[in-house]
């Protein structure tokens, strides 16, 4: 030990002890500082941090109300909710997005479309910690696989939600409409509070019109969550108010029959209960599977639907605007009688053509050579064009416009049918405004047989027919029959504003109805074939509408082009004559003649409604495709 021998041991120890006391003081001061800090946090600011801590763990979550169910008039479920599992990601909690997606690719089938949509949503502005859906409608194996690997996948959650399901989708798509994810425009107009937990909104049809009723009121729950946002337990809950269940006038059996009758064709059938205005059937064929649209349809599938030459997405019943052709004649007959342009007994000679002025342009009758001597009844029964040319000129456009508008042409007269178009009821003012031309007498001639400028939707034709069946009484077409919950239907169904059509001589109704019955049962009636052998009396009117233009597509062979250039076949009618239970309008695109194609369809509808539906099996044989293609 070279050191120490000369050192002053006592002095060194004293020196150390002095220093140790300094250190001890330092320790005491710093520990005192820590104690003071703890006192500050735990005693002085305790309330602040308690609040923070509660805010951390307790979150208010909105609870989406279950959407109201939709039934047909016989309580057959048309729209229900089923649980669908989807996988969602919270980007803020996903460590390595690429790696996570790669892992998920190994466990689920994720299409390129899913990825595209996900990546798009990832770039869009969104709330922090918002869940982004990656894939919907997981199957059970996929859910199980995710559950097993959940610990390796932070920020990945499987979420269940109730999603709309349409069990008879193809049949009801056009009438019911469908729900879909709320898009950005819709986000602007909805109540953000009530929709806080909702991802879907009615896009069309009943779903759209009764959105508020079907949606219900949002509920809330206070939940305890961990730092990863996973809900651990519910502390407090205010239940949502479920959407109201509703019942429609629609009869699914009739709706199915309508689809079967038009199977393989393009067209629409509307059936109305005249006394109530209730829409018994609202068919537009071809239909489509609305379920595809609920969780978001794929680009490819959508392109296929939207570019199909048959236009399955096009709702012909509400939005197809066709020249009504001869189906307009019963309404014009009422107009002509009541305005005095013709009398019941007025008879004309039909040589097969009509001229406004001697030597002028001839308007031809559909029957070459003409019908000979015809009165009003015969003119309706045989669909004599010449008679109505003369009557139209005698009435003039203003009179025709006045009467036809009372039948609901040129407006959307429905109460709750979303998206119905109003067609076109021409008038002097309209022509001047749109075509900058005066109304020519020739325009009246065309209007006399429902051609020219006039356009009408099948729904409008059915509505007008129903007004005739009611002998002038209005019952606006409506889908909703009943609200099953507490709310009364008067609260939600708009009230109709149409006045009954009052005629000078109310018996004119019976006269025109009888002439329509002649169409079905008369020896020369254009639809006598369709009316043959019926145990009840029916009234009707056939029609054909010329196809003016066709978007010609080279892909179709000549025969098909010729097929698609054929006239549209139309029919309107109701039955039984004395106590109408059902009024229908039928259009079969490129169906040829109304008597040959459309009238038998209407007869089948009448028979089913009045005499009973064919047994389940029989009905399915005719048009099984509607069921099978789902």
């Amino acid at each position: 030990m070279p050191w120490g021998e000369f050192k002053n041991i006592v002095a060194e120890r004293r020196l150390f002890q002095r220093r140790a006391i300094v250190m001890l003081l330092l320790v005491l001061v710093l520990l005192g500082l820590l104690v003071a800090r703890m006192y500050q946090l735990q005693v002085v600011e305790h309330d602040i941090y308690t609040t923070l801590s509660d805010k951390n763990r307790v979150q208010v979550q909105s609870v989406a109300p279950p959407r109201g169910l939709v039934y047909d008039r016989n309580d057959v479920l048309l729209a229900e909710n089923r649980p669908v599992f989807s996988v969602t990601l919270v980007p803020e909690r996903v460590g390595d997005m690429q790696q996570t997606l790669a892992k998920l690719h190994g466990m689920l089938s994720i299409s390129e479309e899913d990825m595209e949509r996900f990546n798009r949503r990832l770039l869009e502005p969104r709330r922090p910690f918002q869940e982004l859906p990656l894939r919907y409608d997981l199957n059970e194996q996929e859910i199980a696989r995710l559950a097993v690997h959940r610990h390796e996948l932070p920020g990945v959650e499987v979420s269940a939600e109730l999603v709309r399901y349409y069990p008879h989708s193809e049949l009801t798509a056009h009438a019911l409409g469908y729900v879909g994810r709320i898009n950005r425009q819709e986000l602007q107009r909805i109540d953000p509070v009530n929709y806080a937990g909702t991802n879907y909104i009615g896009k069309s049809g009943v779903e759209r019109f009764y959105e508020e009723l079907l949606h219900g009121r949002v509920g809330y729950q206070h939940v305890e969550t961990n730092a990863r946002g996973r809900t651990l337990r519910v502390l407090e809950r205010e239940n949502p108010v479920p959407g109201e269940d509703i019942r429609l006038h629609m009869d699914l059996r009739l709706q199915r029959l309508a689809h079967e009758l038009l199977d393989g064709r393009r067209g629409a059938i509307i059936a109305i209960e005249p006394s109530t205005g209730g829409l018994l059937a609202l068919a537009s064929v071809p239909g489509f599977d609305a379920n595809q649209f609920v969780t978001g349809i794929g680009v490819e599938a959508y392109r296929e639907l939207s570019t199909s030459v048959d236009k399955p997405l096009f709702n012909r019943a509400l939005r197809g605007q066709y020249p009504p052709g001869s189906t307009l004649k019963p309404m014009l007959a009422i107009a002509a009688l009541d305005s005095g342009a013709v009398t019941r007994d007025k008879t004309i000679w039909d040589p097969g053509y009509f001229r406004l002025t001697p030597g002028g342009r001839p308007w031809r009758d559909w029957k070459r050579g003409g019908h000979g001597w015809v009165d009003l009844t015969a003119a309706v029964a045989e669909s004599c064009d010449i008679y109505f040319y003369e009557a139209a000129v005698a009435m003039g456009v203003d009179t025709m416009h006045q009467y036809l508008s009372q039948f609901g042409f040129g407006e959307d007269a429905t109460l709750d049918v979303a998206g119905a178009l109003s067609g076109l009821l021409p008038s002097r003012d309209w022509k001047r405004a749109v075509h900058s031309e005066p109304w020519y007498p020739g325009d009246s001639v065309n209007l006399g047989i429902g051609q020219g400028f006039m356009l009408s939707t099948p729904l409008q034709l059915a509505t007008a027919t129903s007004v005739i069946a009611n002998r002038g009484n209005w019952a606006e077409p409506r889908l909703l029959k009943e609200v099953k919950g507490d709310r009364s239907i008067d609260e939600v169904l708009p009230t109709g504003s149409h006045q009954s059509i009052e005629l000078e001589n109310p018996d004119d109704w019976e006269f025109v109805v009888e002439s329509m019955a002649e169409v079905m049962h008369g020896s020369k009636g254009t639809a006598r074939g369709a009316g043959r052998g019926a145990p009840y009396r029916m009234a009707g009117k056939t029609g054909t509408a010329q196809v003016f233009s066709l978007a010609e597509d080279e892909e179709y062979d000549e025969e098909e082009i010729r097929e698609r250039l054929r006239d549209h076949a139309l029919f309107v009618g109701f039955a039984p004559v004395d106590n109408p239970q059902i009024a229908v309008a039928v259009i079969v695109e490129n169906g040829g003649s109304g008597s040959g194609t459309a009238a038998p369809v209407a007869r089948a509808m009448f028979d089913a409604w009045l005499l009973g539906f064919p047994a389940e099996g029989e009905a399915l044989v005719i048009g099984s495709s509607a069921e099978a293609s789902r």
């Binding site: 060194e12 250190m23 961990n226």
Partner: protein
């Protein structure tokens, strides 16, 4: 040697039989008792902090058992052995730090571990917490105390060399602990107050330089976050906000054991390692924190007493420096978790889960016990 120690101990405490056993074992019973209280309490808190994962508690218990054995072994060695070995240990330590730089392994961008085939993986920087104060004490105790300026300079260089090597790993937390251990030796050696003033002046000049040239981006971020944690509440500020929330919401008497929502709902990061004191504060409140700090204070008091009653300068300097290093652990950790200091990777001594720090700390306590139980008669 052991016979002599036994004789000395018995001579000083002729009346107490049991204490005789302690001196045979070279264990200080008071210090051991305090440490066991701390470790046991730590395991209770850890059980909650690790979300009632018994495996974690068991692993920590085994680690603490090993650490107690290490303490026991170190306590058996005479301080003279440490003194004699100091230069060699220091040389080996510096060499292994250099080796870490060249062939070390690690994670998250830091090379801290040395894997020598045949030996368990170890962290040389951790050993330096013991070796640097030993070396500084060895060097300074060779000369008259208080030391002359040139000895102080050499001693500071001895401290600075491993510090720099550790900073380069980079491991700021350990480097600060190693550095402070060495600095405390210099202070205890009796360096003049004027020099201390000059040192602090130097630090205040060096601090801005450190900011621009030494600190990494993430370290700067931690300092900035300390000043304003709300500036980045989901990023760097998250830890501080959540740990302050945990502590503050604990209140006076806490939410109760296993009832801490901050830790059990995973808001509190690192709840069983560096931030475990927040778990304790949340569940046991201000009262629990006072008890913890009092236990720590008692340990420090006992250790300073041991240092003050040590027989030679080397033992005194080493014991004092190790005690103060222990305190620095406490202060930096609790200060960090409560938002007084920036986030530095320093565990709460003998409570936080994992790391080799527990073993090193217990080895240091072994050295202190050795100092206390190997005294000779002449000191009386």
């Amino acid at each position: 040697m052991s016979a002599g120690s036994l004789f000395n101990q018995s001579a000083r405490h002729p009346l107490s039989g049991p204490r005789g056993i302690w001196s045979v074992l070279h264990i200080d019973p008071i210090l051991l008792f305090l440490l066991l209280v701390l470790i046991a309490g730590g395991l209770v808190v850890l059980y909650s902090g690790a979300d009632q994962n018994m495996a974690v508690v068991k692993a920590q218990g085994i680690r603490m058992g090993v650490a107690l054995i290490v303490m026991f072994v170190f306590a058996q060695l005479d301080p003279a052995v440490f003194r004699r070995w100091s230069p060699w240990l220091f040389a080996a330590g510096v060499a292994s730090l250099v080796a870490v730089m060249l062939v070390g392994v690690g994670a998250k961008g830091a090379q801290r571990w040395l894997a020598i085939p045949g030996l368990p993986r170890f962290q040389p920087s951790e050993l330096m917490k013991l070796v640097v104060p030993m070396m500084a004490a060895w060097y300074l105790s060779r000369h008259y105390l208080p030391p002359r300026l040139r000895h102080v300079v050499v001693a500071l260089l001895i401290v600075l060399l491993p510090m720099v090597l550790i900073i380069l790993q980079p491991d700021l937390g350990t480097s600060l602990l190693v550095g402070s251990a060495g600095i405390f030796v210099v202070f205890f050696a009796g360096i003049s107050w004027r020099l201390i003033g000059a040192f602090f002046a130097m630090v205040s000049v060096a601090a801005p330089l450190m900011w621009f040239f030494v600190l990494r981006e993430y370290q700067k971020q931690r300092v900035l976050t300390l000043l304003d944690p709300q500036s980045d509440p989901l990023g760097a500020g998250w830890n501080i906000i959540q740990s302050k929330t945990a502590i503050g919401s604990g209140g006076v008497d806490g939410k109760g054991w296993l009832q801490g929502t901050q830790s059990h709902l995973e808001f509190l990061p690192e709840s069983h390692t560096d931030f475990i004191v927040a778990v304790l504060a949340e569940e046991f409140g201000f009262v629990g924190m006072l008890i913890l700090l009092v236990v720590y204070l008692l340990i420090i008091l006992r250790c300073l007493y041991i240092a003050a009653t040590a027989q030679d300068s080397f033992s005194r300097l080493l014991a004092g420096a190790l005690t103060m290093t222990f305190f620095i652990y406490i202060f930096v950790n609790v200060g960090m978790v409560s938002g007084l200091l920036p986030v530095v990777g320093v565990p709460l001594p003998l409570v936080s889960y994992g790391g080799t720090s527990g073993v090193t700390l217990m080895a240091a306590f072994g050295v202190l016990m050795s100092v206390h139980t190997h005294r000779r008669m002449i000191s009386a």
